[in-house]
C-alpha cells in the first residue's frame, strides 16, 4: 500500500519540496544579506535623505568623502523622495530591516508626531559638541523646550526668484531686495500684459510650507501653542487674518490674469521649475535650496529676493 503511495505521489511531493527549497533559498539569501551587511567589518549607517538634483549630488560627495576618510563606518545614503514621501516610508517601515539609522527631515513637528527617534541633544551632550558655531536663530528652529531635536543640516528659507532677463525685455523695473506685495503684483501684471500672454507674471505652488512662510512673515502661526513648540498643538489656526491676507493676494493675481497655477502633487514643483527655466514665469516663491537647480539650469540672468511682504514685516 505504502509502496503504491510513493510510486504515485513521490515525484509530486519531491517537486513540491523543490519549490519550497527554492522559495526558502531566496528567503535565506535575503536574511543572509542583512547579516552580512552588518558583519562586513564596517558599521553600516543607512541615511535617508530628500536632497535631489545638484544638492543631492553634493550630498553624495560629502558621504563619499566621509566613507573614504575612515574605515570604521560606512554611510549608505539613499534618496527617498520628497520630505513627505520619506516621512511616510519611515512611519510604515519603523523597526524593520530597512529602517534608516539617520534621516533627514524637514521640521520638528513631523518627527515629534512620529515620536520614534533619539533627540540629537543626547549626542551633543555626550560629545560636548559646540553648538555655538550655529546661528542662534536657526538653532532655535530645531529646538523643542530648549533641547535640540535634530541637527541643523540644510536650513533653508523661503525666497522669491525672478527672471531678470524677462523683466528687462518687457521693460519692468527689477524687484527690490525685499519686495512688498503690491510691488510683486504690479510686476506680475506688467509682465503678463507686456508679453501679450506669452508668459505669466507669477506663481505660488500649492504647498503648505509656502503659505506657512507667508503667514510667519506677518508674525502669525499656523497651529496653536506657538506652532506646537510650547506643547503639542491641539488645533490649526489657518483661518487667521494673516492667512486670509495671503490668499487674498493670490486671488488678486488670479483676477489680474497674471497667475499661473501649476496644481498640486509631486509634479507641481517640477512643472513650476520647468516653467521658470523655460521663461514662462516671471516670479515664483521657493526654498532657497532651489538656487542650485536654477543656477545650473537657467539660461538667463535671474534674481533672488526675500519673501514677499506686506509692509508689516518686523524682522
Amino acid at each position: 500500500m505504502s509502496k503504491t503511495f510513493w510510486h504515485r505521489w513521490g515525484q509530486l511531493i519531491a517537486a513540491t519540496l523543490a519549490v519550497l527549497a527554492v522559495v526558502s533559498g531566496i528567503a535565506f539569501t535575503t536574511t543572509a544579506r542583512n547579516a552580512a551587511q552588518a558583519s562586513s567589518g564596517r558599521i553600516v549607517i543607512s541615511f535617508w535623505h530628500s536632497m535631489n538634483r545638484p544638492n543631492g549630488q553634493l550630498l553624495d560627495k560629502i558621504v563619499d568623502n566621509f566613507n573614504q576618510s575612515q574605515t570604521k563606518y560606512k554611510v549608505v545614503s539613499q534618496y527617498e523622495g520628497s520630505y513627505g514621501l520619506a516621512e511616510s516610508k519611515y512611519i510604515n517601515t519603523l523597526h524593520t530591516n530597512v529602517t534608516p539609522t539617520i534621516m533627514q527631515q524637514s521640521d520638528i513637528p513631523t518627527m515629534t508626531a512620529v515620536g520614534d527617534y533619539v533627540p540629537i541633544q543626547q549626542f551633543v551632550d555626550a560629545d560636548h559638541y559646540d553648538l555655538n558655531q550655529f546661528y542662534p536663530g536657526i538653532l532655535s528652529g530645531f529646538k523643542l523646550k530648549g533641547k535640540l531635536q535634530s541637527m541643523p543640516f540644510n536650513a533653508s528659507s523661503s525666497v522669491m526668484y525672478y527672471n531678470k532677463d524677462l523683466f528687462k525685455k518687457y521693460g519692468v523695473k527689477p524687484l527690490s531686495k525685499s519686495p512688498s506685495y503690491s510691488e510683486i503684483r504690479a510686476a506680475a501684471k506688467a509682465l503678463t500684459e507686456k508679453s501679450k500672454g506669452a508668459m505669466k507674471g507669477a506663481t505660488l505652488q500649492i504647498y503648505p510650507w509656502l503659505p506657512e512662510q507667508l503667514a510667519a512673515n506677518q508674525n502669525a502661526v499656523v497651529v496653536n501653542k506657538d506652532n506646537g513648540r510650547t506643547a503639542a498643538a491641539t488645533s490649526a489656526e489657518l483661518n487667521t487674518p494673516a492667512m486670509q491676507r495671503t490668499f487674498a493676494r493670490v486671488q488678486n493675481m488670479i483676477k489680474d490674469g497674471s497667475f499661473q497655477n501649476y496644481g498640486t502633487g509631486s509634479s507641481a514643483s517640477v512643472n513650476q521649475m520647468a516653467g521658470f527655466l523655460a521663461g514662462k514665469i516671471g516670479i515664483f516663491m521657493q526654498s532657497s535650496a532651489a538656487a542650485g537647480t536654477i543656477a545650473k539650469g537657467a539660461k538667463f540672468k535671474w534674481g533672488e529676493t526675500f519673501t514677499g511682504s506686506c509692509g508689516r514685516r518686523t524682522g
Binding site: W9, V23, T29, R33, N52, N97, V270, T293
Partner: protein
Amino acid sequence: MTQLKHANHYFWLILVALLMSAPILIGIWASLLPTADIAAGHLTSTNISLANYVAAIQTTPVLRYMANSFIIAILITAGQLVLCTLAAYAFAFLDFRFKKQIFALFLITMMLPFEAQIIPNFQTVRTLGWLDSYAGLTIPFFASAFGVFMLRQAFLQVPNELHEYSQLIGLNHLQFLFRIVLPYSRSTIVTFVLYMFLTHWNDYLWPLITTFTDQYRTTQVGLKQLQAQDTFSNWGVIMATAILILLPTLIVLIIGQCYFRKGLNTGGLKA
C-alpha cells in the same frame, strides 16, 4: 478598383497606426536630442546623437535597475510556472473532494484586485524582514489564480484518450504531465511565460513600496526615481532610459507575437 480600395484601407490603417505609435516615436526622437533643445521646444532640431544613451548608462543605475527587473520577472515567472502547472494539473486531471469549491475559491481571488491585497501583503513581508529584497519582491507573486485558470483550460483540451492511454502504459502523474500534457499545451505555456514576464517586468506599485535602495529598485520604479532626482535638467537622458527599458518588452513581444494570439484564444474556446 480593388487596388484603389486596398490603397484606401491602407491609407487609413497607416494613419491610425502612426497616431497610436506617436508617443513612442516622439519619445525615441526626443531621446536622441540634447536636453537643451527639448526644454526649448525645438523638436525639429537636427542635433541627433546617442549622447543621452551613453549618459544614461554611465551616470544612472539604469543597468542595475534592468538587472533587478530581469531577476524578479524571471524568478516570478519560474515560480508561477511550477506552482500553476501543478495546481492546474490537479484541477484538470485529479479527482478529489471539494474540487469545484476550491477552484471557485481560486477564481474568487482573481476578482480581488492586487491593490486590495497590498496592505496585508506589505505587513507580512515587513514582519518577515523581506523589505528591500528579492524575496519580498517575488514570493508574494508565486501563486497566480489567473495562471492556474489559464493552464487548467489548456490542460482540459488534452484528449481524454491520451490520459487513458498513459494510464494503460503505466505513466505516473509527473510522467504524464511532462511527456504529454506540457508538450500538448506548448503554445499556452509559452504565452503564459511571456505574459507573466511582461507583467512583472512592468510591475510598479509593489516594487515602489517595498524597495528602498538602488540595489533592489526595478526599472519602472527606477525611472520614477531618476525623474524625481534629476528632472528638469535631463529630459533627454530620461527619455533615453525609458527607451532602454522598453527594449526588452519589445523584443519579447516580437518573439512571442504569434504565441500571444494563439495562447490567449485557447483559454476561451472550450471549457
